[in-house]
């Protein structure tokens, strides 16, 4: 089904028709990058500013306690949890194989890999399609990460991803930086939280 190879050749020939000298790009100089005395505090500041909520907890049980104070959690009907030690959940993802089955999901509680202090983003790396869909289709999202898993800025973040082998697998892979609830300002620049993805995002920082 690769029937358009003539265009492929035409484009590549065109790109090679004039030699353009390419100078080597030096790697980023870490000494020029911003550092924070307290990356966790910076992360919390930025994510809160953006409309997310950050909770420092001492053990996983506290996640359930804090969620229990939220009306939108108490009224939730469908809760999927990938961290049963924190929240039991009543929607069992292992039993579905069609992502459309997640349409009525109210809450998803998922693990994150690490946070980024400079912008409040969390790297989430779902292991299958259902876990992936859950992140975007749920009305409310809770992500649990360790506060020791905090990088300063995006340079450190991608170094960490490379070290973890992201991008060098032999098959499909998906990962996403999530920074706060989904939002839009497309109507007269008025910020509206809850566009297509989650309406609220809670990040729990464990020891």
């Amino acid at each position: 089904m690769i029937a358009h190879s003539s265009s492929r050749q035409r484009i590549l020939d065109r790109l090679r028709s004039i030699p353009i000298e390419a100078s080597e790009v030096e790697p980023i100089d870490p000494s020029r990058l911003v550092r924070y005395d307290d990356p966790v505090a910076k992360f919390t500041e930025i994510l809160t500013l953006i409309g997310g909520a950050v909770h420092e907890v001492e053990h996983l049980g506290q996640v359930r306690e804090i969620l229990g104070t939220l009306p939108e959690f108490n009224s939730a009907r469908h809760i999927a949890s990938l961290i049963p030690a924190a929240v039991e959940g009543n929607f069992h993802c292992s039993q579905v194989d069609d992502p459309h089955a997640l349409a009525t999901l109210d809450w998803a509680i998922v693990p994150g890999e690490f946070g980024v202090a400079e912008n409040g983003a969390v790297w989430v790396h779902p292991t299958n399609l259902i876990e992936r869909t859950m992140l975007f289709i749920t009305q409310h999202l809770a992500v649990v990460i360790s506060r020791t898993a905090m990088v300063t800025q995006m340079h450190d973040a991608y170094q960490r991803l490379r070290a973890a082998g992201f991008g060098s697998q032999s098959g499909s892979d998906f990962g996403v930086f999530i920074c706060g609830p989904s939002k839009t300002a497309d109507i007269e620049q008025s910020l509206v939280i809850g566009a297509h993805g989650c309406r609220t995002m809670h990040v729990f920082l464990t020891p």
């Binding site: 995006m154 497309d186 620049q189 008025s190």
Partner: protein, 468 residues
């Protein structure tokens, strides 16, 4: 549409203010990172190198993307791109397609092409959905509906989505769109996204959104089509660190977009990922040493938000998919006759160049286009004749002074319509200033004489000396 906009002073001011607000947010974010200028330099270097090495990088990308299970297509132009999309959809018998934001598909006029073939195309970015329902093109690449008032969105939604008549609360309207589009996502049989970055060394693509629409649109249906201009290629995974730090800060003044999604291969073994690499004039632009840096554009829209012309005239007045300073550089390379007025809609203030995260010398390129039009003989007589006349005058001081005297006298005595008429485009929205009583040379000579200064300057002598 553009004329209505620019003649409506109130709307023009409102638009100006809305964009300046975004520009201000960008400034706040840019100054929050001490290494901002360093990042811009690095981004410029990475893009310059990637553009130079694009053949090699695209082949590397293709190989890696295929290894991950994606199908890679190549399209020379818009028509071929649209045909490829249609064939993929047709093969899967797709009737309903959801799209996230892609300026490339706007550039290719994909929606109309698919609709003619019986496929429902739904733009899922809220701003794009608003303009799609209104039958308009986006007026801005990042803020597609920035030219529309909330009351007008309310009318559009009332008509198409059944919201309450007269409702204009953004929260209410956005919620209605969420419900409406949820349904579209759940029923879609294929999803199409743009591509912000394509990583050569991994074969992955990165898509950035705030709404989460690209993610819902690709997680639910089994077919994902990603359309990318060939300039989206970057060499390494680490290069993303530079661009993800610059993109959202420059675009909307956010530290990063809500979702920065990294797709490597199709979602699972039962699904398909098609990546279409599109030329459509890009290799042509790359041939030109002058305009080549414009290929580094990451489509953040910062040049539009800062441009005094764009802010007051709106995106539709550019008559092209990509408006603003970057559009005025890119569009003439596709069709220099049709877009030849764009590089003139610029005061050369240079603000676009100052904010560009990849350091494209935009205002220099706009000036270069003017030169290029001259070389290509594309200038109309209302530009060439006055320039020739001016050149003649400036070369002959006596003639210059005589012309000045005549003009001053004429403007004082002849009726106004001689100068302000429909042939003088300059005076369409402007009034000529009152002519001075005397020239600067006359005034200078006279005031020196009046003050009794011994070191009198003879005006004509000054001119002679100056010419030596």
């Amino acid at each position: 549409m553009a004329r209505d906009f620019v003649t409506n002073v109130q709307r023009s001011r409102w638009h100006d203010g809305a964009l300046w607000f975004v520009r201000h947010k960008r400034d706040v974010q840019a100054s929050s990172i001490p290494e901002w200028e360093y990042l811009r330099q690095m981004a410029s270097k990475i893009k310059t190198s990637a553009i130079a090495r694009s053949a090699e990088l695209l082949e590397q990308f293709e190989q890696n993307a295929q290894r991950l299970g994606a199908v890679v297509h190549w399209a020379s132009d818009a028509a071929e791109h649209n045909q490829i999309v249609y064939e993929i959809l047709h093969r899967h018998d797709v009737r309903r397609l959801v799209k996230s934001k892609s300026m490339l598909t706007e550039e290719c006029h994909l929606n109309g092409f698919l609709e003619e073939r019986g496929i429902e195309v739904v733009d899922t970015d809220l701003g794009e959905r608003i303009v799609q329902l209104r039958g308009e093109p986006p007026s801005h690449i990042v803020l597609p509906a920035i030219h529309i008032k909330k009351e007008e969105v309310g009318e559009t939604f009332h008509k198409h989505l059944g919201t309450e008549e007269g409702a204009s609360d953004p929260q209410y309207l956005a919620e209605a769109a969420r419900q409406h589009l949820r349904n579209k996502f759940l029923r879609a049989e294929a999803g199409l996204t743009g591509v912000n970055f394509a990583i050569a060394e991994t074969g992955g693509i990165v898509v950035c959104t705030n709404e989460g629409n690209a993610d819902l649109g690709t997680a639910l249906p089994p077919v994902h089509i990603a359309s990318m201009g060939l300039e989206k290629i970057i060499p390494r995974l680490e290069d993303l660190s530079v661009f993800t730090r610059l993109l959202a800060r420059s675009a909307t003044g956010q530290p990063i977009t809500t979702y920065t999604s990294h797709f490597h291969g199709p979602r699972d073994a039962a699904s398909e990922l098609h990546i279409i690499i599109v030329d459509n004039g890009r290799t042509e632009l790359r041939q030109s040493e002058t305009f080549r840096p414009a290929l580094g554009c990451i489509r953040c829209g910062a040049c539009m938000n800062t441009c005094p012309v764009f802010r007051r005239s709106g995106g539709h007045s550019y008559g092209a998919t990509v408006p603003g300073p970057i559009g005025s550089v890119l569009n003439p390379s596709n069709d220099s006759v049709r877009h030849k007025s764009l590089p003139y809609a610029c005061s050369l203030c240079g603000s676009c160049t100052d904010v560009c995260p990849v350091k494209i010398p935009l205002h220099h390129q706009l000036l270069a286009w003017r030169k290029e039009f001259g070389k290509r003989g594309l200038l109309s007589i209302d530009k060439t004749l006055p320039m020739k006349a001016a050149s003649l005058l400036f070369r002959h001081p006596r003639l210059y002074r005589a012309a000045g005297r005549i003009a001053r006298a004429a403007m004082q005595t002849l009726p106004r319509f001689v100068f302000v008429n429909r042939f003088n485009l300059w005076s369409r929205d402007r009034e000529l200033p009152a002519p001075p009583e005397e020239s600067f040379t006359q005034w200078y000579a006279r005031s020196r004489k009046d003050s009794g200064n011994h070191a009198q300057v003879n005006a004509s002598g000054y001119n002679k000396n100056h010419r030596n």
